[in-house]
Amino acid sequence: MQQTLYDKLMSTHIVCEEKGSTLIYIDRQLIHEVTSPQAFEGLEIAGRKPWRVQANLAVPEHNVPTTQRSLGVEGITDPVSKLQIQTLDKNCKKFGINEIPMNDIRQGIVHVVGPEQGATLPGMSVVCGDSHTSTHGALGALAFGIGTSEVEHVLATACLWQTKSKNFKIEVNGKLNPHVSAKDIALYIIGQIGTAGGTGYAIEFTGSTITALSVEGRMTLCNMAIEAGARVGLVAVDDKTIEYVKGRPLAPTGENWNKALAYWQTLHSDANARFDKTLCFQANNIKPQVTWGTSPEMVVAIDGRVPNPKNAKDSVQKTSWKNALDYIHLKADTKISEIKIDKVFIGSCTNSRIEDLRVAAGVLQGKRIADNIKLALVVPGSGLIKQKAEAEGLDKIFTDSGFEWREAGCSMCLAMNADKLEAGERCASTSNRNFENRQGQGSFTHLVSPYTAAKSAICGRLC
């Protein structure tokens, strides 16, 4: 039977089926400090042990400070953040789970660290108590976010009950316009299908535009599948994937590499596989994108205008748009290029990889950020990316232009550490969510690509 990539990945992991639910085996669980304490607590109360301890890899990321790391965990000023990281350290030690601690050079955002370490590999089933686990689908892995009860369940059983998703193919063809990146493709697609457009589906991204993306770009795209409502985003394995995985610390070697390679090359949808839904987009229609509101689907091209609620498709959308405009302090029909910004954030599991930093540095080279920018931050996705960027001299370009060069972590994407926006501040951000209060109480987020973030920092407005 002709199968989609998602069908292949699911069927490889089925342990048993029961009344419409499927028990699937989990090859890898990534763990961070925010969604795991209650899972470990549950395990302990029930007197259970991890089923397969080596399937787990932990890294602190949400709460870690991006400055003054030399003091280690003791240097964290927020006592609650500190306790959460200490709790992760303690739990990993107690249960024998491999942890990359805060001051390890390999530490970083779990969705950056996983692929970087070869902890996530093509064909694997990968879960994490974090919705952006969809990122790892870029390697042809079955990867999705779960809740804390499920984190505990995977710890205790190495399995999860799942209902099979439907298959959704999104094809993008043609050459991208200059300065348009994977982030713009993601935002454009979400703008077209809405934040619930992928609910109940696993999305496979295909087409010549996707094939031409780097693996890092594919991660950006799959990362935001969840913003379109899909828990799973996928890209088929090709030579780029294999090249990316080769030589990673946890990637197979020798005879196992050859066996893995033979298997990985089958990880694509069959030519006549049936999809429940298919959409096609042309790359040349995609311009640099920017969100104007409080949901990732509230997005327009950078040369566009803030939409007018009177043009909304129905009363629910009209109310949403009005609420968003009220919250974000913008008037309908305002030109996007007239929107002044206060801060710029380059980072997050969406856009903190080396190529993101290279693009932004390329824009900033020899330039200064505008006087009205109060703070511009670059937060690399991992300590290793930071090291690589420094070896390439990117840190110097950033700091010369007025950006601050920070340590790895989630940082201002969700502002659980000290990096946040103040009320009323407006930010061009390469992160993934522009919800109310996401980057700080009463703050305003505009989601953009690294290119647009860097350019906007120079202009002092969205541009």
Binding site: V34, A196, K259
Partner: protein
């Protein structure tokens, strides 16, 4: 986990689409390492006029009188009415923990985000997907609504409507079953699976 069989209660109408989990329970409360006590901070940014932090005395904070949960007529509601795509965004299970800790046992909406929908079942909350026109009727209805999970019905204003639910999810809610215990009944199958899986994919 608390069993769910039937429930009769008034419903609190939250008239917004795409209510995200950041709004259900803001990030500062995710720093807790416990599973309970999130109810007082449910919808914190809409519910209070000041900025909430962990360990505040919530009884002394200024309330946003306009927010639905602060209106006297909705006090004690165990049913939450919502619009499309309820619970989108972050996977935080703190969202259903906050909802049940507050006292909600049922959420009725035209659609839910996948992760929150699944998490409801794991925490004794019944998420009901209902047609837009029935949800519209519920939004204007004032009075008690009866939910019968066994019959899969919603009854209000002398009308009874059916709703659909996955049979396994229904059974787990009705029996209040612990997922892990159930899965461990499949230990032999898991072990057999592992043997062939690691033989076939030895690099894993």
């Amino acid at each position: 986990m608390q069993k769910f069989i039937t429930l009769t209660s008034i419903a609190a109408p939250l008239d917004r689409a795409n209510v995200d989990t950041d709004a259900i329970i803001p990030k500062q409360f995710l720093k807790s390492i416990k599973r309970s006590g999130f109810g007082v901070n449910l919808f914190d940014e809409w519910r209070y006029l000041d900025h909430g932090e962990v360990d505040m005395d919530n009884s002394k904070r200024p309330l946003n009188e306009k927010f639905v949960l602060n209106k006297p007529e909705y006090l004690g509601a165990k049913i939450l009415l919502a619009r499309e795509n309820f619970g989108c965004g972050s996977s935080r299970e703190h969202a259903p923990w906050a909802l049940i800790d507050y006292g909600f046992r049922v959420i009725i909406a035209p659609s839910f985000a996948d992760i929150v929908y699944n998490n409801c079942f794991k925490n004794g909350i019944l998420p009901i997907v209902q047609d837009n026109n029935i949800v519209d009727e519920l939004f204007v209805f004032k009075g008690e609504i009866t939910i019968n999970l066994e019959e899969q019905t919603i009854t209000f204003a002398q009308h009874t409507y059916n709703f659909k639910i996955d049979t396994e999810g229904k059974r787990r809610l009705m029996e209040g079953l612990d997922d892990i215990e159930l899965t461990l009944q499949h230990t032999d199958e898991i072990k057999a699976f592992e043997q062939q899986h690691f033989e076939k994919y030895p690099w894993l």
